[in-house]
Symmetry: C3
Subunit: 278 residues, 3 copies
């Protein structure tokens, strides 16, 4: 099993790489939180670009170091854009992050999410209910076809999604990050629990979406597991720090983005986590 | 006529219900202020979900405790999404809020807003010019076909919209909230004036849209009149409090959302209002 | 050559006009930064309205004092909306601002941007790479067909775009504003360098887009050159002031919008700039 110190060394490299190279990470992401996703990506040192059209999605898929697909708000054109983009990413061995927001709402969303199975996203990020529902949709263990997704919120706790997360990671060969009070990250062989964060995360929209966007930025220069863990770590660190300075959600969001920007590679790697074999 | 104390008791119940149950209120809303709408809904204790597609709109209409339709930015697909959604809401007796933003711009907007007449929104929220124009479009008294809507801004004062607001409320059997320096809320039998707020409300985009979103959240657990008044009251309270702490609009927006979150049920019910028979 | 004092007098008039008349400036702009564009337009004293549909774009083109077209995120309907809108603006002699964001990504974006050549935008605002690429697309001197645009970022410095900016301004008969560490504004006969700003501008998304939106507001009451310079000046002033008060990007954005609101006509005109003949 990979050692904690080795993981931390790789996390530091990932953060330093991003801060030095300002890598471009393109996205098709939802309109509710699109601004927060971009600002979070910029705060950690990355560069953001968002598009809607098939041809433009393919352009970003090829041009970016890693790409983010978040299905939070589906537009009609996505029926063309997203499968084409995911296919390009998979065939060109380009890493990408999937956020299956609100899985279960609408047949196009379901069709798109089902279709991503064969294009094996490098990182899947969601709350517990979304991860369980995606495993169910893909016919993997730990999944259920009776979704507990309620709009964009989770009604399951993170540990309940462990089996589903491991199964998804084994299928994709990448990593899965389950967001919750404690975050669970797995690559199918190890399970990492990342601690910290803030109760205010649930009182602003887009904490999860922007975490997916930041994981995409780190994925331009790190493995799926390291990118997912680094993103969760900087979120947990910045969340804790921001919470200590404010008493309400909007101030929290400002302070949180500020702390994302301020967090150093060593501080991010030192954010508490535990690792265990699957 | 309903007494002030009875109204306040119901307002307290509405706020407590939302804070305890975190009710889901789905929206189709405009892209300019969509993030603020969601964050305002979360700040008062609700849950938000935004969609574009017909089938997804119908899903939210059925799944949510109440639903918000804001026509601020029209996409081509709305020609299908919005009528279908409004029909579902009406036929299933699900409460919903309409914000007729920028009524008068474009024939599809006009067609959609005209079509909503038969689906009787539980709450209509707008500025004075929008309320007068909607009454005109629906052929009700107090309306005019010579709109004074200028883009998204109002050129009429709230009291000038009283006749139109009462006529609209009588038609729908719900409530109408006219936003302005003083807010006017009516259910067709009583007219309530709600005081407070801030001049900075006009210096940020989305104060009105997010008020509609918050009214939708309260509508999951209260009557149309109470939900509309409670939303106006928390806005007027949070606006006044925020204004006292800042000297410019962007700081105001942050402080305002913070105060939305902090306002207690009793404080919201105690925000100044006056009630009179129509 | 126009004198500095004459320019400053016109800048003061432009800012006063906007603060007094609250002019409406409609936009079709990208979804990533649409909220910031609107809030920046409101902060300086203007009024904002954003649409997507062809007929609505034409409505705003006719109704507004000036109009903003920003191609940052292209939707399928823009194939109809944008050419029709630009044609209306040109034929009705209505001033308008073009922001050729991410020129080079996708064939529809290229086709739309190429088509704008004949409709001669009053102001073109972009970073150095975008200005060079647009001059190239339009077959003007200083342009290149080998774009250095990387997503939405520039890899060229402002002075490298001087020839292209002058050529574009001569073609349109309007002004071109190149954003960078120092901003370059030209009307084809004079070149003005505007100083100030903040390194945090690159750490938030939408500094450029919202500058285009604010230039549009000033264009309702000033010449192309004065509007472009006034917008750059208030951005440089507010950026410098905001930077002195914060230590991270999200606090910067809040402080920056606040300073946009607070800046007086005289202060904006006094922000450092230099003028030279082409």
């Amino acid at each position: 099993m990979i050692s904690k110190i080795e993981i931390q060394t790789q996390m530091i490299s990932a953060v330093e790489y991003v801060k030095k190279t300002n890598p471009m990470a393109g996205s098709v992401t939802n309109s509710v939180t699109i601004n927060l996703v971009a600002n979070a990506q910029l705060a950690v040192g990355g560069s953001a670009a968002m598009v809607y059209l098939p041809e433009e999605g393919e352009f970003l898929a090829n041009a970016g170091g890693a790409t983010y697909i978040n299905v939070g708000t589906i537009l009609p054109i996505y029926e063309e854009t997203l499968p084409q983009m995911a296919k390009t990413l998979y065939e060109n061995k380009k890493p990408w992050v999937l956020d299956p927001v609100a899985i279960g709402i609408g047949s196009l969303r379901t069709k798109l999410l089902f279709g991503f199975k064969e294009y094996k996203p490098s990182i899947i990020r969601g709350n517990a209910s979304e991860i369980i529902a995606l495993a169910g949709l893909w016919g993997l263990s730990g999944g259920t076809d009776e979704s507990n997704v309620r709009g964009v919120d989770s009604t399951d706790i993170v540990t309940a999604a462990k089996t589903a997360a491991v199964a998804l990671a084994k299928w994709t060969g990448g990593a899965v990050a389950v967001s919750g009070e404690t975050d669970l990250i797995t690559d199918g062989s190890v399970v990492i629990l990342s601690y910290g964060g803030s109760h205010f995360m649930e009182k602003i929209t887009g904490a999860g979406c922007s975490l997916g966007g930041v994981a995409t930025v780190y994925l331009t220069g790190a493995s799926s597991l390291i990118a997912a863990l680094t993103a969760s770590s900087v979120y947990n660190l910045a969340g804790s720090r921001a919470e200590s300075k404010v008493d309400a959600p909007s101030s929290f969001q400002v302070a949180f983005l500020d702390e994302l920007y301020k967090a150093t590679p060593a501080e991010i790697a030192a954010n508490p986590f535990e690792i265990e074999a699957v």
